[in-house]
């Protein structure tokens, strides 16, 4: 079972390493969209530092949404999804492996890049580390929740903005507590509640979403 999960995991990593474009696009979007804000709202450091946590989180959410669109579609088109569904291993576990691999090439890159963005947004240097920490705990939940939408839309007529309509409502709690964790940390207030809730959301998402994703994919394969 673990071997099958590892095989899927490594396959997905290798696939995204060979076609580096898509994850590079995610990162590029993150950076490019952020650079619009100082131009749009004005480059005053006070203002930028205040809105930085929210903007970085919203952009991370949108970047994850963008990256999710093709999560299952390619496997569905070339038939490998069918093989996974018929494997003697629960589809839920293979999905978990796929989502982990996807997070490594999308969410983790955003996490690693976010301190740079926080500095670009004039956040105080000593609090910059809070941004990647909250993204580290939050983006896996975003990918897991988004995977439900990606799976539901396999084979649908529409895509793109549709995915956003389906899953952003469910992602909003992650955003609220992710930004809350940074804000409370920057202001030096007790922020442990936010971290605990972010962690709780991640654990619940890890336990529950693979079943919804698997149900949606089986539906697509019928």
């Amino acid at each position: 079972m673990l071997r099958a999960m590892r095989a899927v995991f490594e396959r997905d990593l290798r696939l995204s390493a060979r076609s580096f474009g898509s994850s590079a696009m995610t990162v590029l979007f993150f950076l490019l969209a952020l650079s619009l804000f100082p131009l749009g709202v004005g480059a005053s450091p006070d203002l930028l530092a205040r809105i930085a946590p929210g903007i970085i989180w919203v952009l991370a959410l949108l970047a994850v949404l963008l990256s999710l669109e093709r999560l299952f579609q390619a496997d569905f088109d070339d038939g490998s999804l069918e093989l996974m569904a018929q494997a003697p291993v629960p589809l839920e576990l293979l999905i978990l492996a796929k989502v982990c691999a996807h997070w490594l090439v999308s969410g983790l890159l955003l996490v690693l890049l976010s301190p740079l963005l926080a500095i670009m947004m004039a956040m105080p240097t000593e609090t910059v580390w809070i941004v990647p920490a909250s993204l580290l705990l939050g983006t896996p939940s975003l990918v897991l929740i988004g995977a439900i939408g990606a799976a539901l839309l396999v084979g649908a007529r529409a895509g793109g903005a549709f995915l956003a309509l389906l899953v952003t409502p469910l992602m909003i709690p992650v955003l609220i507590f992710g930004v809350g964790a940074i804000d409370a940390g920057v202001m030096g207030l007790g922020s442990s509640v936010y971290w605990l809730i972010l962690g709780a959301i991640l654990l619940a998402a890890m336990a529950a979403t693979p079943f919804a994703v698997a149900a949606a994919l089986r539906l697509a394969l019928e």
Binding site: L152, A156, R157, A158, L165, P169, L170, A212
Partner: protein, 240 residues
């Protein structure tokens, strides 16, 4: 439940329920409106604008109730492949979305004179807005596939996932101390509302529920007929 899986039998049930619910609605709606607009007292703080509550609160309750009905029907449809439950869910969705829109709109009309703003991003308002988007997502996903059955089942999964939002809405005013007032009817201990306002409110809740039953029956009738037409057309084209 399995007895109702037969669309024809279900249609007969709808035909029996509809006249009674319709009669109940026609009788109770004027009584309810008269009660809340003329008889019920004005609030000592809010004045006459408290009457918005008699529409706002039942609509918000119905927004949650209809979602619960919809999600339950979706679960039944997925688990037992119940043919009628899926129709109940898709017929309920637009009604629930309307109730949610009414709750949001009346709340905002009430908020302007009372809070001094049309909208605040407090936990209750935001989570109800999420509910509205969930309804829209459900309806859009249902129609996003060439095969209507596929769309109905994909939307069913979304509806079940969205149930996590319901307890958040219900308890948002207790968990977060925000602008929206805390629960005053469905709470531990006695309601904190005066009986002269509580009774008309509960009566309006019943009126709203009757309206839901009536609207649902009409929509169910339409959907069942549409299904029959499709089935007959298929049979005809195969015969030729």
């Amino acid at each position: 439940m399995h007895a109702l899986a037969n669309p024809l039998r279900f249609q007969r049930l709808v035909d029996i329920v509809l006249p009674w619910a319709l009669a109940g609605l026609i009788i109770s709606l004027p009584i309810g409106l008269y009660w809340v607009l003329a008889v019920a007292p004005a609030d000592y703080q809010q004045g006459e604008s408290v009457r918005i509550m008699y529409v706002h609160v039942p609509a918000a309750w119905m927004a949650l109730f209809v979602y619960l009905v919809m999600a339950t029907a979706c679960a039944v449809a997925l688990i037992w492949k119940h043919p009628v439950a899926g129709i109940v869910a898709s017929a309920s969705a637009p009604i629930g979305a309307c109730f949610t829109a009414i709750a949001l709109f009346t709340g905002s009309v009430w908020g302007k004179p009372m809070w001094g703003t049309w909208w605040v991003w407090d936990a209750r308002l935001t989570s109800v807005l999420i509910l509205f988007f969930l309804y829209l997502g459900f309806m859009a996903l249902k129609d996003a596939f060439d095969d209507p059955e596929r769309g109905r089942r994909a939307a069913a999964i979304l509806a079940i996932v969205g149930v996590v939002n319901l307890p958040i809405i219900k308890f948002s005013v207790d968990w977060w101390n925000t602008l929206h007032q805390p629960a005053s009817v469905l709470r531990w201990g006695a309601p904190t509302m005066d009986p002269s306002m509580l009774w008309p409110l509960l009566f309006m809740a019943v009126v709203f529920k009757l309206y839901y039953v009536v609207a649902l029956c009409f929509r169910l009738r339409g959907e069942l007929q549409a299904q029959r037409v499709t089935a007959l057309r298929m049979a005809q084209s195969q015969a030729v």
